[in-house]
Amino acid sequence: MTDYAVDEDEVRHVAALARLGLAEGEAAEFAGQFADILEYFEALDEVPEVDAEPELTNVLRPDEVDEGLTQEEALQNAPETEDGRFKGPRVS
């Protein structure tokens, strides 16, 4: 066991952060697998610090009005719509 092994409660906590519903038994199964995987990730501790040369350049263009999806197209995959809008669950 390493000092960053995760237990079932930690898996449930992370699942709550990710808004991810778990099936019966998945938290226990994942906790066991993550112990192995995180132990394997420990090799990253030995990686030297490397100066990454930034290769990024800004590429700008003027804004132009272009064709987009129609309202109908944008809504066609929504499980439910209401008055031409997406229907979502309660926010509060």
């Binding site: 808004r19 990253l44 990686v47």
Partner: protein, 430 residues
């Protein structure tokens, strides 16, 4: 009767327009590449009914080049897997040996080409997902340099790593398909070279490079990536390198110590990006609804319960790697490893033209063999992930068989060095 290979999630024909360079050719398209009016599931129950309202840029390019699309090929759910067994639509079988996996995640595309169900296919490669199934099924697969091919319309898994790439029976056919899909696209900023000397594909014809001329080519054999391979794989690999040497190439050993942390760095970076990318699946605009009666958080979590176990595992790992207290330990160190790998390759290409290794360190798994042990599956990506982390091009070309199963030779080139790796690979399959 032979078991069904299950190469397609959706079989539907889209005819090509006119008589372009791919007229009369059929192409299978991986099911994470958007096709207007044809469902695009990503191998996931979440998107079982999702029908894109637009075409990916590569799909437009295919049909404009005259190709006929034959269907949407099976894949690991959202590209997360090395075997095509995590698909919600059942596993694809390897045409060479139907008790084996075809590799993944573009397993449907590779199997379709290997079985002759389609002439050519498109896959996507985030950590080896074109090259692995190409190697396991005995076909050719190319992972282009980051920025060569537009990802507009590719459902994102880990944006900083992935490219769409061709699969074909031969190097020259894969190169022909690459010629069609490569090029700038205003809808994918990574393909824009406005302030440089133009996009590399605008002045290159990749198919012309498949001339088999390796006279004077210098090949660096990456010792770290050969040492980790199964002996039977290493033997075939060495025979393929010897064959290139016999044709006039020079081979020497090169060492890239950084690649030994590639799998770790890859799984930290890819899962971190996945945890963010897959946050879009909330069951409101598309996907499985989580209902409307509970509060937002619960409905969101209920919707996302429809992801399969491998996708959940990666979202959780990525969320964990980015969470407070762990970000420095995992994500930042993985970025260091990525820069280190890139530097190692850059320095190696001062000495050699291509870097060679077995594509996969193992022979194709038996169906079900690796599913219960994710770490074993991740380790199989040891030779392919360094290439994505370094943004480089690579090809997997068949290098014969061991115990009746295909072995792939991987050749990695410098940035936008597609012609070099295509030329070298074409000497192997000639």
């Amino acid at each position: 009767m032979a078991p069904k290979l299950n190469v397609y999630v959706t079989e539907e024909t889209v005819p090509g327009a006119g008589d372009g360079p791919l007229a009369g050719r059929s192409v299978g398209v991986k099911d994470n590449i958007s096709t207007k009016g044809i469902r695009t599931t990503c191998g996931s129950r979440m998107l079982a009914d999702y029908v894109p309202p637009y075409d990916a840029t590569v799909v437009k390019r295919l049909t404009e080049a005259g190709a006929t699309i034959t269907g949407k090929t099976n894949m690991d759910e959202f590209g997360m897997g090395t075997t095509t067994e995590t698909s919600a639509f059942g596993p694809t079988r390897n045409p060479v040996d139907p008790t084996r996996v075809p590799g993944g995640s573009s397993g449907g595309s590779a199997a379709a080409v290997a079985a002759g169900e389609t002439d050519l296919a498109l896959g996507s490669d985030t950590g080896g997902s074109v090259r692995c199934p190409a190697a396991f099924c005995g076909v050719v697969g190319i992972k282009p340099t980051y920025g060569l091919v537009s990802r507009y319309g590719l459902v994102a898994y880990a944006n900083s790593l992935e490219q769409i790439g061709p699969l074909a029976p031969t190097v020259s056919e894969a190169a022909e398909l690459l010629d069609v899909i490569a090029g700038p696209d205003e809808r994918d900023a990574t393909t824009r070279y406005d302030d440089r000397e133009g996009h590399p594909a605008e002045t290159a014809t990749y198919a012309d490079a498949a001339d088999g001329d390796v006279d004077g080519l210098s090949i660096g054999v990456c010792t770290e990536l050969v040492e980790g391979a199964d002996d039977r794989v290493a033997e075939r690999f060495e025979a393929a390198v010897d064959e290139l040497v016999a044709q006039g190439a020079e081979a020497k050993e090169v060492s890239l110590p950084s690649v030994e942390t590639a799998v770790q760095a890859y799984y930290v970076i890819a899962t971190s990006e996945a945890s963010s990318n897959l946050a879009r699946f909330d069951g409101v605009r598309y996907g499985q609804s989580g209902g409307y009666d509970d509060n937002w958080n619960q409905a969101f979590a209920d919707s996302r319960a429809s992801f399969g176990p491998e996708v959940k595992r990666r979202i959780l790992l990525g969320t964990f790697a980015l969470s407070a207290g762990y970000q420095d330990r995992y994500y930042r160190k993985a970025q260091d490893a990525r820069a280190w790998i890139r530097r190692d390759f850059d320095e190696t290409f001062d000495e050699v033209d291509v870097v060679a290794s077995p594509t996969m360190p193992v022979l194709p798994f038996e169906l079900g063999e690796s599913l219960s042990d994710p770490l074993t599956m991740y380790l199989a990506d040891a030779n392919t992930t360094p290439v994505n982390l370094a943004n480089l091009p690579a090809v997997s070309v068949p290098a014969g068989r061991a115990d009746g199963l295909p072995v792939g030779l991987q050749l990695v080139g410098p940035r936008f060095g597609e012609k070099t790796i295509i030329r070298a690979a074409s000497a192997v399959d000639a």
